[in-house]
């Protein structure tokens, strides 16, 4: 263990360089070029396109199926629907949104996902601020302990938390899921945000403190505005994770159907209407709609967030 000061200098240098690495446009691609010259570049393109198609086919199949009538889904493969004359219908979507309680489930997902995204990021930002810009005994030890928690299997924590929630009457409430997502999202969020926060230029803090700004002001007026890219990528991550989560909702909502989110509703459909495919297809797509929109509109941030979290070039 080196001296505190030089250690944080190393961290800062590392983080600063990583930030640069993630944030700036990459230099012209090099590696594949070497390979591509060996193979002909057109054959590489063909292989790449084939892989892309292979990956898209399952989703495409569901997408097309969701616009076909129950009869057609049952008796022919979805690919036959591509051949004219087309007979597509939006009936599946109508029946899902009306009859199957999917509207309520969509709303529940929103009610769960929005606080389930904001809360952990806020708590993590507080902690990351202290971990990167304040000095207190055991700072590194606490930080690494929290990073270590990233890999504790959630399953291990579920039984005690469930009995605790049940004891205080939280099971089946939204608050139970909010709290769980906040706690489970923290290790990754703190890890990511600390990286970004500690790479911020230190002169800003000095001048702010000279002007008499307290930690609270510094946090809201300097840290948060400067970390919008990091916060955005984290928010996308957390939102997707909460929206797509099944396990936590399944257990902490205690089978309360009034509060069931989309994943739970669709999983129920899978289990109870296993053969009722026309409902299933549309339901699955409705549950994917929002994450897909988020994904396509904010893909840049999404990828950047992953890189900031895991690339150590």
């Amino acid at each position: 263990m080196s001296v505190q000061g030089s250690k944080s200098a190393e961290q800062m240098a590392e983080l600063a360089s990583r930030r640069e690495y993630v944030g700036k446009p990459q230099p012209k691609l090099t590696v594949g070029g070497t390979l591509a010259q060996a193979l002909s570049s057109s054959s590489v393109t063909v292989i790449a396109v084939l892989i892309g198609c292979l990956w898209s086919i399952p989703t495409l199949g569901l997408f097309i199926s969701s616009f076909r009538s129950a009869d057609l889904i049952r008796n022919t493969g979805w690919w036959t629907g591509l051949i004219p004359p087309w007979s597509f219908t939006i009936q599946n979507y109508i029946s899902v949104l009306q009859a199957q309680g999917m509207g309520a489930a969509f709303l529940n997902s929103m009610i769960i996902a929005v606080p389930g995204t904001i809360l952990p990021i806020l708590v993590a930002a507080f902690a990351a601020y202290a971990f990167s810009w304040m000095k207190f005994p055991g700072r590194d030890w606490f930080f690494f302990s929290i990073v270590a928690l990233m890999i504790v299997p959630l399953q291990i924590t579920l039984v005690p938390i469930l009995s605790m929630f049940t004891a205080i009457g939280l099971t089946g409430q939204y608050a139970a899921v909010w709290l769980a997502h906040t706690a489970f999202g923290l290790p990754f969020a703190i890890y990511l945000l600390r990286n970004f926060f500690s790479a911020l230029p230190s002169d800003l803090f000095e001048s702010a403190h000279i002007d008499g700004a307290g930690s609270w002001t510094v946090f809201w007026k300097i840290i948060i505005p400067l970390s919008v890219p990091a916060l955005a990528s984290l928010a996308i991550f957390q939102f997707m994770w909460v929206w797509n989560d099944l396990l936590i909702a399944l257990i902490f909502l205690g089978g309360n159907p009034e509060r069931a989110p989309m994943t739970l509703a669709v999983a129920d459909l899978v289990n109870s209407f296993g053969s009722n495919y026309e409902v299933l297809t549309a339901a699955a797509f409705v549950s994917m709609a929002l994450p897909l929109v988020v994904f396509f509109s904010l893909q840049r941030y999404f990828v950047r967030g992953i890189l900031a979290g895991s690339v150590k070039g």
Partner: protein
């Protein structure tokens, strides 16, 4: 120089505060309390419960653990998890590496990346519905509506019940997982590949290195730390694999894994002791990985 800056700024001077360390605790307190309640305490509690009987009334020693390694159905669960771990990690990281290298200089790189990355945005539940249409089964003689069986039909091979047949179901679900996670591996590996300096590759080519030599002797070693991080992430995720199996087979047809078995023990059989022991096993299996991961992070923080 950097050292001086850091020493000056590591503890920013704060006015109007009795002790900087005391105010720091206020900032970390919410996080620490949550982690204590939601991670530390449950882990201790689960350790305790795993030594108790079904409804946590009597101490039973190690018998819950012994059952995992003697009961044939639980042994099967362990075996499935092992198959998942080995095959799932190799496939996701291997394919991610392969695709990252292949598409690195292709014009449509971004499109391919999006196609591979898209499943990341889809929930496991959604993915399982998507893949039902790949694995669908109709009795022989009828029109096959599942993609896989329809392809088999073209070659006059009898249709298979992919998710029920014990020969196939674990592999079928690993395929689904691979479909979901390869994009994640690819994006990270591809970013690391772009950090490999041009000169080194040029020099290797000048020395007459073939493309496989360049790949194995230069590219792979140079991005080894990234490959390690990706592999560790995959190992951790796959050890805990739950959603895919829960939604696709529910752990039936001999396809259960530890996390699903844990869920079944807890909520279908009400066996808290056995469920806790299974969860503890997961934890113990992950500890070496966790140790390695922390060491990796620390080294990287020190390195620069």
């Amino acid at each position: 120089m950097a050292t001086m800056v850091a020493q000056k700024t590591a503890a920013p001077p704060r006015r109007r505060q009795r002790s900087p360390s005391r105010s720091a605790w206020i900032w970390v307190a919410p996080a620490l309390i949550l982690e204590l309640v939601f991670f530390i305490w449950p882990v201790i509690n689960t350790i305790w419960l795993s030594f108790m009987n079904k409804d946590s009334t009597t101490y039973v020693g190690l018998s819950n653990y012994a059952r995992v390694f003697t009961d044939s159905s639980l042994l099967e669960v362990l075996r499935n998890n092992l198959v998942w771990l080995v095959l799932g990690t190799i496939l996701t990281v291997g394919l991610g590496l392969l695709v990252a290298v292949l598409i690195d200089r292709v014009k449509i790189e971004q499109v391919i990346k999006s196609a591979l990355f898209l499943p990341m945005a889809i929930s496991f539940v959604g993915a399982s519905v998507i893949w039902r249409f790949v694995f669908l089964y109709q009795p022989p003689g009828q029109t096959q509506t599942g993609l896989l069986n329809a392809i088999l039909a073209v070659f006059h091979i009898p249709p298979q019940v992919w998710l029920i047949d014990t020969r196939f179901n674990t592999f079928a679900m690993i395929a689904v997982y691979t479909w979901m996670m390869t994009g994640f591996c690819m994006v990270i590996i591809s970013a690391a590949l772009k950090g490999v300096p041009d000169e080194i590759l040029e020099a290797a080519k000048m020395d007459g290195a073939g493309r496989f030599t360049i790949f194995w002797r230069i590219m792979v070693p140079m991005i080894s730390s990234t490959l390690t991080v990706v592999t560790i992430t995959m190992i951790i995720n796959i050890l805990k694999i739950f959603d895919v199996v829960y939604v696709m087979t529910g752990g039936n047809y001999h396809s259960s894994v530890v996390a699903v078995e844990f869920y079944n023990q807890l909520f279908n059989f009400g066996n808290y002791g056995q469920a806790s022991a299974l969860a503890m096993l997961l934890m113990v299996a992950i500890i070496p990985v966790m140790y390695f991961n922390i060491r990796q992070i620390r080294q990287q923080e020190k390195m620069r």
